[in-house]
Amino acid sequence: MSPGLLILIILCTGIAGLVLGRRRALLRSESSGQRLHSLPMAYGQSVFLFATVPALLLVAVWLLLQPVFLEGRAAGMIPTSDIPAGSGIALLLDEARRIANGLPATAATLPSVIAAAQALNEGYESARLSLSIAALALALGGAIWAFLRIKPEARARNLVEQFILAMLMGASLIAILTTFAIVASLIFETVHFFQVYEARDFFLSLTWSPRFGGGSQLGLWPLLWGTLYISFIALLFAVPVGLMAAIYLSEYAGPRMRAVAKPLIEILAGIPTIVYGLFALITVGPLLRDYLAQPMGLGDSSSSVLTAGLVMGIMLIPFVSSLSDDIINAVPQSLRDGSYGLGATRSETIRQVVLPAALPGVVGAVLLAASRAIGETMIVVMGAGAAAKLDLNPFEAMTTITVKIVSQLTGDTEFASPETLVAFALGLTLFIFTLGLNILALVIVRKYREQYE
């Protein structure tokens, strides 16, 4: 039975339970002359929930864990002598999986792989059968249990509401689960990486030259330098422009100007990063190369730190400006009025009263923008280039952590090699950096925020 059909049957069981449960509640109240505690529908709902929810959860968990279990068993059937030198068992398992899914085995396929594929295939069959039986039994069992509990004095509504509350709570736990899954998968694979590659080399080496086939140098520094350099240029562009735009729009602009300019700037925030990436690749990069880099003799690559930084800066403008806008608006009018009363001009008031009052918020906004810049991927993939080097020239192509995560994890890669696993260590670095910046931003805003009132 396919999972889709199984889910459908479970749902049908639930709906039948809904109708029958409601009928039974009405009938029993009629025959005993006792008033129902809850609305008749609540009795039906209780049957529906007990029939469907546990069974559907079982199906979901089972489908998630089944391959882990089965492939673990199949992996045990492939002797270590069959694994080609320099690669892991993952490739053979992949092959076994493909054969189990119906692709023909080639002449080069090892007999142990074919056996594993057969075991996988049989495993799928029997697992599917036992899943069907277990899920249907659970659905029917839940339905019957809830059905038999229907009595006029049963508190069906409270039961249903408790059940729904538990489900709501479960849904909100997904957030924790996701964070946990992210951290776990990053740390797990990073530990794996440090088992096959010296941690000291990763943190201290100044070269990045992955070679599939061994002997690669995977130093973090060139990537970190590229990331920070590009983010710095982006912020150098975005912070003054965004901040000044926010100041102008909230302090100077009339309502009509605000109504036009603000949405226009916010459109920039809604544009997907791939669009910015393409913009960097086909417009900004060649433009900078032809009109700045080549005349000045600084380089002839169209992908460069400056290209990526500028385009990323454009992307960050709305981010900085809308955050600053909120913060500037939160500064109470009385402060401004006081300053005007002393004879200060508008710009003096803004520079000497409003901005200092808003400073913690603005710093927080800049840090958030920095965390965005560090984690940005598509713009740097398409605009910054792939050469990992430590250089100061902004017209040189450099690379970032995110670019290398993409390049190490796309394409046909052997999953157990350090060249692939390093992507997880890079991901963890990235995660820690952005998380740190976010927390720092939060702390600064909380600690230094002026409380007016």
């Binding site: 509350l165 849904a171 924790i176 996701t178 998968s185 797990f188 300019a261 700037i265 393409l278 994890l409």
Partner: protein, 438 residues
């Protein structure tokens, strides 16, 4: 002589202060102008590069579907299936030469192969599909609009010039001269290109045939998955946090987690998808289900944040009134608060979906960059078939050598932006139409 409007004469210090005031103001205006100019420059660059993808050079051929070539063993479907595109190519090449001769267009200095090179390599396949769909056409005279080669197409759009053709091994200036003559005779022209939206991706050598069909379908599947999972989960989580959650450590932990997840770089979600859904759970690579799940996790914080705002905006008097007439807390929320918060929730959902639609980086990691030519099957099985996605297709095309793919990529961006504009317009309309101020 003009009369001064005021007797007050500004002293140098006031003048300096006023100058600095207007300087500051100008800087602000400049910043706004710069931001808007960047937007205009960005959009016009994409539009300018991409509009060409919607028009395609075609060669109009009046031809007879000669049964001797394409149906040597009769016209029953099985026999027709066995005829490969090579036979169709032979037919097309011959018909092109005949047409040129009939119109009296000079082909001097060009080999037969060079003349045939004006046609796309995809044209025979298109013709074959047409014949297989309707075998009755065989032997009939038809008018066939054959795709022109990518370089010829580029020539019509001004991307390829005589100078660049001299350096190009795929096209010669003589061929372009013939193309000019054909254009003047009305045989070769640019026409609207619907297959850009429906055709699957094409190989490196045939940019003229590449389309967005599989990518649009893949994106649609992923959006469906995101919608079906993230909305119920997000709304449920928001209801719990906003209406039921007690003030305790667990609630705090959840809140911190949600706000942090909203700030996690998207590529980290890609790593999560690769590690958990593909390596751990064994789901297939390049499948919309994995992409949908990853995007769901990314969209959840957005949906939760906007749903909570919508729930918060419903005044407590509504809840109090419901509780006052005897509803339980659950009933008050599900029967009264939630319907009132619905427009806000929908708006947030659409904006979250729009974000997910444009997201690229995590999809690269779960293998959606693969070259996929087959349409995925209908859902739910299709969720597990390999597919592409709109933004990933853009990236994919930019990595190819032929500059014709850059035009395609920009065209795909236009399609993507159109979808986003429609989604955002719906969100704005919903907000305008249903938003209630209490």
């Amino acid at each position: 002589m003009s009369t001064p409007s005021s007797l007050y004469v500004a002293d140098p210090r006031s003048k300096a202060r006023r100058r600095s005031e207007s300087r500051f103001r100008l800087m602000g205006l400049g910043a706004v102008g710069l931001a808007v100019a960047a937007l205009v420059f960005l959009l016009s660059s994409v539009l300018g590069n991409g509009l060409g993808a919607f028009r395609q050079g075609v060669i109009t051929l009046d031809m007879t579907l000669d049964a001797a070539i394409i149906a040597p063993k009769g016209t029953d479907p099985e026999a027709l299936q066995k005829v490969t595109t090579i036979a169709y190519k032979r037919l097309l090449d011959r018909e092109l030469a005949q047409d040129l001769a009939a119109k009296g267009l000079s082909t001097e200095g060009l080999s037969d192969k060079a003349i045939a090179g004006l046609l796309s390599q995809e044209a025979p396949a298109v013709l074959r599909r047409m014949v297989l769909a309707d075998p009755a056409l065989i032997g009939q005279p038809i008018r066939f609009e054959a795709l022109a080669n990518g370089r010829v197409d580029g020539f019509l759009k001004g991307r390829v010039t005589m100078e660049s053709a001299k350096l190009d091994s795929n096209i010669s200036p003589e061929q372009l001269t013939l193309a000019t003559v054909m254009r003047d005779a009305g045989m070769l022209n640019l026409s609207f290109n619907p297959s850009f939206l429906t055709a699957p991706d094409a190989s490196e050598l045939r940019p003229e045939a590449a389309g967005l069909g599989v990518a649009i379908l893949g994106s649609a599947y992923m959006m469906l998955i995101v919608l079906c999972i993230s909305v119920p989960l997000g709304v449920a989580a928001s209801i719990y946090l906003e209406e039921f959650a007690p003030q305790n450590r667990l609630t705090d932990l959840i809140e911190v987690n949600i706000s942090n997840l909203a700030a996690v770089p998207s590529i980290v979600f890609g790593i999560l998808g690769l590690a958990i859904f593909i390596n751990f759970a064994g789901l297939p690579q390049s499948a919309p289900i994995v992409g949908g799940l990853v995007l769901t996790l990314m969209t959840l914080p957005t949906i939760i944040i906007s749903t909570r705002a919508a729930l918060k905006a419903v005044p407590p008097s509504i809840r109090d009134a419901a509780l006052g007439v005897g509803a339980s807390k659950m009933q008050a929320i599900f029967h009264h608060v939630l319907p009132l918060a619905m427009p806000g929730i929908l708006t947030g959902t659409i904006i979250g979906l729009a974000q997910a639609l444009g997201e690229t980086a995590p999809l690269l990691l779960i293998g959606m960059v693969a070259f996929v030519r087959d349409y995925p099957a209908a859902p739910p099985e299709g969720f597990f078939d390999p597919a592409s996605a709109l933004p990933v297709q853009v990236y994919n095309w930019t990595t190819r050598a032929d500059p014709a793919f850059m035009e395609r990529a920009s065209g795909a961006i236009i399609v993507l932006l159109l979808f986003l504009i429609v989604m955002n317009a719906i969100a704005i309309l919903l907000r305008r139409r249903f938003e209630r101020r209490w």
